[in-house]
Subunit: 206 residues, 2 copies
């Protein structure tokens, strides 16, 4: 009887541990499966991030170069003066060209980090770096677009209170090019917002 | 001999399972400790986030009201005309007042989410909502500050190419108030960048 009871005593823990080790194994397996699924979803996000960066590079280079080349010379001139408008006549447009060029350069430099995020979708560091830098560059891009847009608005409509006359009646093509560049710069802002949201979703615990 | 061997056989697994269950218990305990420490750090971040939002509310309300009340009437006038400058003479300044007022209202509405993040520092949803909304509002704030700053620059320096004359020589006090409002709006931008970084750090897996 005593021996039987000991065997039962020993037997019970062994079955309990067996089942518990089974549970642990299941949990581990489920964990791996969840991590793999999360990694897959995050890899998809990272690839979307990469493609979005390529599109943003195209848009920002387009915006900077359209603004840079926006120039118009009127077909009439006086003896001493030729009427000409270029992006460098207005500081806000100069700022736009410089800022958007910086944004485009940053985007090119950020591609390796985006690739690291594709290769190692669960790595936190590249995501965090991208999110912080994207936020800073979004601010630069937005301020440039805002500054250029307000001067463009003034060039189109003028301002009676301050006696600033519209110049777009004379320099229609110039104003059109500038507006195109500003619209492209604003599209880049939308891209950056999406990029930041992607990084935030990829950062959160799955 | 056969019996002895069986007792040894049964004995071995029992010690193994004992030690393994010990390990599992330790790991669990360590996990809880780590989660508690992470929760503490995140609670600290959440409190900092809340204080930063309060400061940003003060700054944005200040910026909007300084711009709204910026007005100057010159001490001389003709029979038909009185020289007066107000924020509503320039669309960029009107946009600044409206946008920064929206930003301030958003900040007030975001306080409950920030409080939820303090009470439940490991919750993901309020953090993600705050990060996305902060990013959108940062864009609004930055575009307003950029637009107002470029018009303010023009009011100070004028532009020879387009024959827009500076008005700040006449309306010095008005320009000073406008500049103050723009600086306050720019400080709010810095606050938003810090808020976004806080949310990103709080979101990442600990």
């Amino acid at each position: 009887m005593a021996k039987e009871s000991t065997t039962i005593d020993v037997g019970e823990p062994s079955t309990v541990t067996k089942s518990s080790s089974h549970v642990v194994g299941d949990a581990k397996k489920k964990g791996f499966v969840a991590a793999a699924a999360g990694g897959g979803a995050k890899r998809g996000l990272a690839i979307f991030d990469f493609l979005l960066r390529l599109a943003a590079i195209a848009v920002t280079i387009g915006a900077a170069s359209v603004m840079y080349t926006a120039e118009e010379t009127l077909p009439f001139f006086t003896q001493f003066l030729q009427f000409q408008a270029g992006y460098d006549d207005l500081p806000a447009f100069q700022y736009f060209v410089v800022a958007v060029a910086i944004v485009a350069s940053y985007l090119v430099l950020s591609l390796p980090f985006s690739i690291v995020a594709i290769v190692r979708p669960l790595a936190v560091a590249p995501r965090l770096i991208l999110l912080i830098c994207d936020t800073l560059v979004l601010t630069l891009n937005t301020s440039a677009a805002g500054a250029a847009a307000s001067i463009d608005y003034l060039a189109h409509n003028g301002n009676q209170s301050t006696n600033w006359l519209p110049i777009c009646q004379q320099f229609g093509d110039f104003c059109q090019n500038v507006s195109t560049a500003i619209v492209a710069g604003s599209i880049a802002i939308v891209f950056f917002i999406v990029l930041i949201i992607i990084s935030a979703v990829a950062l959160k615990r799955h």
